[in-house]
Symmetry: C2
Subunit: 360 residues, 2 copies
């Protein structure tokens, strides 16, 4: 792993962007971006990046942690917050300072402008996104570990799923095994949606028992050193009818079509359109009511969006989900989702779990 | 339960505040506030509250859910977002419209001002906090259920804690039993910090085994219908020395002092000072390096803050934590935390779990 080099690449990329925007400094206040740049995992952290220096402001709770974690910036412990520190004059700002306009609260910007009247604060949206989208080897290693845990957890819960247990019990097992296999936590609340509830793409796990002779949608993920996994399988419990089998196979075909079609340089919209047209041609366009996918990283949903509004190009090194679905109200739902790494040659699915129909 | 009446009280309180600020309408974009007012639990929701009407804007994913959940507002399903809907002219706004300046991103405010140039958008900070702090009977019922689950989970994990298991295994059990006992999820990642790691107030659970002849700090909570619990116990595993026992008893005394001292109308700062002075007089002031507590509700940390910066008064109906601690680097930590309801007569702790030292 070329970790230090890779970290300095991040710093270099941000400084180049600062120069192109004619900024003397940039304020990173969005925690996932702060973590991405510095590895700092605390709940309070702000980076002030100048042309020459980088400081990370946090509070006394993280006094020990910053010594172990932080790279790419000099940690500063403060009890009065970063605005007061910026006002102190100890950190040369220059005159044009950018801030994350799509993340930072309006009132904080007003405070910055009031407290530092000689500085021009410049709104910048999507400052880090294009760089965050490209995973380095260290980040990929963490994501592969998260995916490997998710594969193991999926195997575990196949032993649990039956009409004897509730959706919530399966969700409890997922959360349990995530931690037992070494994840920090769930990357989102597991979705366990059986029978007609599978037709709600964002169904939460309920106290309903897993329905016999039907499908169950299981969408889950975990976090390893901050990095997320996100994976969906749909499995059959008991005997399912021909329609369910047909829909399963169509979604699987659409999924593989998405994997095969994904190429660096496409926009999310272009990729989304391919499985969507396939399902539409077979009469299931309306039943596929969400985006094909999204990028994943320190956040479970990142840019680029792989959907109708996805204008950002998918770069080499992005990790995206391919997750087509068909939802038939009152009947059932099917969704099949893998995370895939975009390489020079296409998309490489990261999970090992089979995508063929599992019948329990 | 006088649910409908109580919900309309919320609406009335916000409209009174709008009138006092001379606002024709108010935009609520902060999801916990949206949920607090309307009960809507989705991940995308914005309320536009005028003097006469209230609309909740969300997307097609929640088409069915809004019919079941939403009160106090008329749901509007939109694919273009709430700014476009506000622009459409279908929702009479008036001329002065407030927004949550301490929550809403700067870029969104810029967009609102560009798209709706005839409207004066007025920044308002802490618009809902004073009302959110006062829990109604329905909210209290949900919080009591969350606390009852936490009590049950604590009993369960007492059977698990031993030098044979790791901190992470205990954390996995907490997450598991939270769901098994009916919670939606953890209200935060459980803290399980054994031996010297207990001296880090925000330690995460690690793969270290629970240390014998030492203390372990367990801080955990769950979510029931959106409402959080938050509770800490410190238990002894094996034999502990006199210093550990002495520190435990001091923290317990400080905790009860906090409970007995809490009165409606005090500021968080005033309440924080009482156990702090007690511990300082006994030589442990420096070792109590965080706030005494915080309010709890739809968020695990709400206002009023019970700490040195807590200027807000604690109202009747608030639910706050009282969680003094002593942290001795290299040795161990002790924290004891209950949630307590502030009534006319003082503070009523909600959990039932004993606070006397448990020795396993």
């Amino acid at each position: 792993m070329t970790t230090e080099l890779e970290l300095s690449v991040k710093l270099h990329a941000l400084r180049q962007k600062m120069a192109s925007l004619n900024l003397d400094a940039m304020l990173l206040t969005f925690l996932p971006d702060v973590r991405w740049l510095t590895r700092f995992s605390g709940s309070n952290g702000t980076v002030l990046l100048s042309r020459e220096n980088a400081w990370l402001f946090t509070d006394f709770r993280y006094q020990e942690q910053v010594k172990i974690e932080v790279e790419n910036a000099e940690p500063v412990i403060t009890s009065d917050g970063y605005v007061a520190e910026m006002k102190s004059g100890k950190f040369p700002l220059g005159t044009r300072v950018g801030f994350q306009a799509d993340k930072l609260a309006y009132a904080t910007v007003e405070k910055l402008r009031t407290e530092l009247p000689d500085v021009e604060f410049v709104p910048v949206s999507q400052f880090c996104e294009e760089f965050v989208a490209v995973k380095d080897s260290d980040e990929l290693d963490k994501m592969r570990r998260a995916v490997a845990i998710t594969d193991k957890v999926f195997e575990k819960i196949l032993d649990v799923i039956s009409p004897k247990v509730t959706e919530r019990e399966v969700a409890a097992e997922i959360s349990y095994w995530n931690k037992r296999f070494g994840a920090e936590k769930d990357s989102f609340d597991p979705i366990v949606a059986s029978g007609p509830r599978g037709a709600f793409p964002h169904a939460r796990a309920t106290d309903n028992r897993i329905q016999n002779n039907s499908l169950v949608v299981i969408d889950m993920g975990c976090v390893v050193e901050g990095y997320c996994s996100d994976q969906t399988r749909t499995v059959a419990v008991g005997k399912i009818d021909d329609e369910a089998r047909k829909v399963y196979n169509l979604v699987l075909e659409a999924h593989w079509l998405g994997i095969r079609s994904a190429k660096a340089g496409m926009t999310g919209r272009e990729l989304d359109a391919i499985p969507r047209e396939f399902l539409t041609a077979r009469g299931y366009g309306e039943a596929f009511g969400h985006s094909l996918g999204h990028a994943v990283g320190l956040q479970v949903h990142e840019l680029p969006t792989i959907g109708r509004k996805g204008e950002m190009k998918i770069p080499v090194g992005a990790v995206i989900t391919i997750e087509p679905g068909i939802y038939l109200p009152g009947k059932f739902g099917v969704r099949i989702e893998d995370m895939a790494l975009i390489t020079e040659n296409g998309a490489e699915p990261l999970p090992k779990a089979t995508k063929e129909l599992i019948e329990l």
